[in-house]
């Protein structure tokens, strides 16, 4: 009887160990959920710009941004990563992670363990093409293929261009209740050296539902508000 008992326990333990080993192999940190930025979420030093970038006409850039907002174009990255809350969804297959935002946009898709597509055939987008891989507990996301559509200002100074290259490192902190994302931008025409900054997002409670922030280019009052001198009386 004792031998049988031992055999049963050993059999369960072996199958358990095998399952644990299998899970450990595929287990990755759980980034799933909704995340919010707080007042103290941003550590953003000033970037070191190239002379060409430093001399860019700021008035023209401001005008460009206002037009992008007025016409509800895709705002893109990095702007979207500074909106709050945002959702991270890790596909069950482990092949993709999506980042969903409350503003009207097609989201970010991070494809894991796959190369970027051929740059000759890829249509540049405001969020670029993102691929990711796990380095231990850190998700490293590499993004290229940006367009110049949307709100291109990079925190700390500089603009997203077609030449921009972004590497993000996502890492959970404090028992998974905080998420650190370290952004590194390189672009030889914009930055004299890689521009690095960090955001820390706070996990929202389970069951949270994100509302939608709409954008209507046909809203005449909205358009007048955005394009008129501040204080103009607009119904």
């Amino acid at each position: 009887m004792n031998r049988k008992l031992t055999e049963i326990v050993v059999a369960i333990a072996i199958s358990c160990f095998a399952a644990s080993a299998q899970q450990a192999k595929s287990a990755v940190p759980d980034l799933n959920g909704y995340w919010a930025l707080q007042d103290d979420s941003r550590n953003v030093p000033r970037s070191k710009l190239t002379a060409q970038a430093a001399n860019t006409n700021q008035d023209e850039l401001a005008k460009h941004d206002m037009q992008e907002i007025r016409w509800c174009h895709w705002y893109g990255v990095p702007y979207l990563m500074g909106t709050s809350p945002l959702q991270i969804a890790q596909n069950l297959t482990g092949r993709e992670i999506a980042i969903i935002f409350s503003t009207r946009n097609p989201g970010r898709h991070i494809y894991l363990d796959t190369p970027h597509p051929n740059s000759g055939t890829y249509d540049a987008t405001s969020t670029g093409h993102s691929i990711g891989k796990w380095e231990g507990e850190t998700l490293v996301v590499d993004t290229v293929g940006f367009s110049e559509e949307g709100l291109t200002a990079i925190p700390g100074g500089g603009r997203r261009t077609k030449n921009s290259h972004l590497v993000e490192r996502f890492r959970l902190l404090r028992n998974g209740n905080q998420l650190s994302v370290v952004f590194t931008w390189t672009d030889s025409k914009t930055f004299a050296e890689p521009h690095i900054y960090e955001f820390r997002y706070f996990r929202l409670p389970k069951g949270f539902e994100m509302s939608n922030v709409d954008c209507d280019p046909a809203d005449e009052a909205r358009a007048k508000f955005l394009l008129s001198p501040p204080g103009t009386q607009i119904p």
Partner: protein
């Protein structure tokens, strides 16, 4: 002997229970796994010889059985289009698409699936649609904030996902001439076909203030190649206005 035997049995139960408890965490991921994997990129194709995306709709979507005022509204819209005004105001102005528009659009849409949610991510100008799978209920009507995709909850029935949606912002439309109001109720069934190469979605729209009987139809979507990736389908109303097709941003 009797005492010893009972002890052994009790010990065996305890040991097995302990082993199973220890194993519980490792098997959780498997037991929590969804019965079907809908993730990936999905797109419509012309598998009925419709010749165009609109042509496909005409061949596969039955006419909604509507109350007279909606039949009249559809007649007026058809007359306007017949007269050459073929682009809807909302399209000219790149206004947000209401569900289910992206489901019949030519652009692909994408599913990301977690244990708690199935998220549909369109490429066109609208919002991601969240289908909650964690057992939550719809919010109390007083707390429900309407939006263009409504509020959706899903549950598994075998390998199919049943989705129940309420809380739409009024103003949208369905294929077959149906309209969507604040009290419209949608039920959908998502089912994989052909070893996961196809996804069939059956839609049933109900709203006694609009439909005389439930409006049911289905679409079949094809899974994109594994190396495909999402695009952005941009809409620039400013370019439309510059080309002269839109002159005044006034609601019609």
């Amino acid at each position: 002997m009797l005492f010893e035997s009972k002890t052994i049995v009790r010990s065996r139960h305890a040991a097995v229970a302990l082993a199973l408890l220890t194993c519980g965490t490792c098997s959780f991921a498997q037991s929590a796994a969804s019965p079907a994997d809908f993730s990936g990129s999905w797109e419509r194709r012309d598998d009925v010889g419709g010749g165009s995306f609109g042509g496909i709709l005409e061949k596969i979507i039955p006419k909604a059985v509507l109350k007279p005022e909606f039949i009249e509204a559809n007649r007026r819209e058809a007359a306007r289009q017949q007269a050459g005004d073929v682009v809807a105001f909302s399209s000219k102005w790149c206004q947000t698409f209401h569900y289910p528009f992206f489901m019949q659009h030519s652009a692909a849409w994408h599913i990301v699936q977690t244990t708690d949610e199935l998220i549909q991510i369109p490429e066109v100008h609208t919002f991601a649609r969240h289908i909650y799978l964690d057992g939550r209920k719809h919010p109390d009507p007083a707390a429900l904030v309407p939006n263009v995709n409504g509020h959706s909850i899903g549950k598994w029935q075998g390998n199919s996902l049943l989705v129940d949606t309420i809380g739409f912002v009024p103003g949208g439309g369905t294929p077959g001439g149906g309209r969507i109001g604040p009290a419209t109720h949608l039920t959908e069934t998502f089912t994989l076909l052909d070893a996961g190469k196809k996804l069939q979605v059956t839609f049933t729209w109900e709203d006694p203030s609009i439909f005389l009987k439930p409006h049911t139809y289905n679409f079949t979507y094809y899974k994109s190649a594994p190396d495909s990736y999402a695009l952005e389908d941009y809409c620039h109303a400013d370019e439309a206005t510059q080309s002269g097709s839109v002159v005044e941003p006034k609601q019609q």
